[in-house]
């Protein structure tokens, strides 16, 4: 009910108009009901009763529905502003996977930035999102910014969003996609354009702590086979990119707070945190190694 984007604003407006229209119709029906049940009843002549049924039962609903339908159709081109998407400076590719989000930022004037489970957008700039899925149908939805759009395997759907308020929001997966569907979410941060450019700049470089001690453990235990971390020899693409994991707001696609303890827990028992997750448990690693890897990942900002 508190839109932070152009599209969400129009969705709210449409909802309010349709709700008021429905309320007016409901009041009309209740009024007609009370009229028939009034105490001092005088029957209508057959002709005026027929006329009442024709206008009240057929003409009025048809006209009202036509008006509401026209209003929602009139809003539709604005809700899907793909025409302007071609001029968008920033393109964000989001791929839905069981049960996380792979995010790639592409700019005309800068290197590609890969991230996961968090999307940052500039305020006041139209962004084109390209939505795909690599396994089952997911649905991408940022309620504060706009309507939802399905992610369908083998298809690329486009969504265009214009944020007009800075803030932090939550985006869920809006299409049942498996056991941990309810644990598949992402954080959305809308930032002022300048701050966004700076953030994107830091994301494009490896984290300054990438080469710390934890990196050797991370590589020795084979984490790099599935996860990529910029700046070290970890280039896996099966799991989320962890290059700047420490600066993200949540862990495990919105299922845990992002702390070193939570990271250690995720390494030890991912299946208990996210049933159906592809990552196996690494509880067999030495506890110290798990703690060190978790602390190093938390430092990757």
């Amino acid at each position: 009910m508190d839109p932070a984007g152009e599209e969400a604003h129009q969705v709210l407006q449409l909802s309010v108009v349709l709700f008021c229209g429905a309320a007016a119709i409901w009041l009309g029906v209740v009024a007609a009901l009370l009229y028939t049940a009034r105490r001092r009843r005088k029957s209508l002549s057959e002709q005026s009763a027929s006329r009442f049924i024709l206008f009240g039962g057929a003409v009025l609903p048809s006209v009202t529905l036509a008006a509401l339908l026209s209003y929602s159709l009139w809003l539709m081109p604005g809700l899907r502003p793909f025409g302007q998407a071609a001029s968008a400076v920033l393109h964000v590719e989001v791929t839905g996977k069981q049960y996380w989000w792979h995010v790639v930022y592409r700019r005309s004037n800068g290197p590609v930035v890969v991230s996961a489970n968090e999307i940052r957008l500039p305020v006041g700039q139209r962004v084109e999102l390209t939505l795909a899925s690599s396994d089952v149908i997911h649905s991408f939805w940022i309620p504060a910014l706009g309507g939802k759009m399905d992610m369908i395997p083998g298809r690329t759907n486009r969504l265009s969003l214009l944020a007009n308020k800075a803030g932090t929001f939550r985006g869920p997966c809006a299409e049942f996609c498996g056991t941990s569907h309810a644990l598949m979410a992402f954080a959305v941060v809308t930032m002022e354009a300048q701050a966004f450019q700076e953030w994107l700049g830091t994301q494009a470089r490896p984290s300054p702590r990438a080469a710390d001690d934890g990196a050797a453990l991370f590589l020795r235990h084979g984490c790099g086979a599935c996860h990529a971390v910029a700046g070290i020899d970890a280039r896996g693409t099966i799991g989320p990119d962890l290059s700047h994991l420490g600066s993200r707001l949540t862990l495990g696609a919105g299922s845990l707070p992002n702390t070193a303890d939570a990271i250690a827990r995720f390494i030890t028992e991912p299946e208990r945190i996210k049933p159906g997750v592809q990552m196996p448990s690494f509880a067999m690693l030495p506890q110290d190694d798990i703690r060190n890897i978790a602390a190093w990942l938390k430092d990757l900002e």
Binding site: A58, L73, M76
Partner: protein, 126 residues
Amino acid sequence: MRVLPKQVDTLWTLFTAPVVWALHFLTCYIGAAIYCAKPDLFGVGFDAVRVGIAVATFLALGAISVSAWLAWRQWGFGTDDPPHDDPTRRDRILFQGFATLLLSGLSFVAVIYVALPALFVMECVR
């Protein structure tokens, strides 16, 4: 000799209006879908599709209006009141006329609703 018979003693006339509605629906949806999948095939803009839908809509509304007028005539221009439930040939014809008239009204409104998006949607993708 009359072009349109005075009395149509068949059940088929009952379906005329819904069939026109169905054909109009298919024309609009299949036409727009094919155009938007392969816009180069036709060498015309989307506005031509909208004009095409408008023409199909006026043709459909015209056909439904003719069906409605015939039904109204069959119903005796409303000289008798429903429910027309006597087991006589006359009541059967009146009932059929009345039912056809109601179906025509429904089809008329439905055809307009089907065509409405073409009034507001100006491009394939939005």
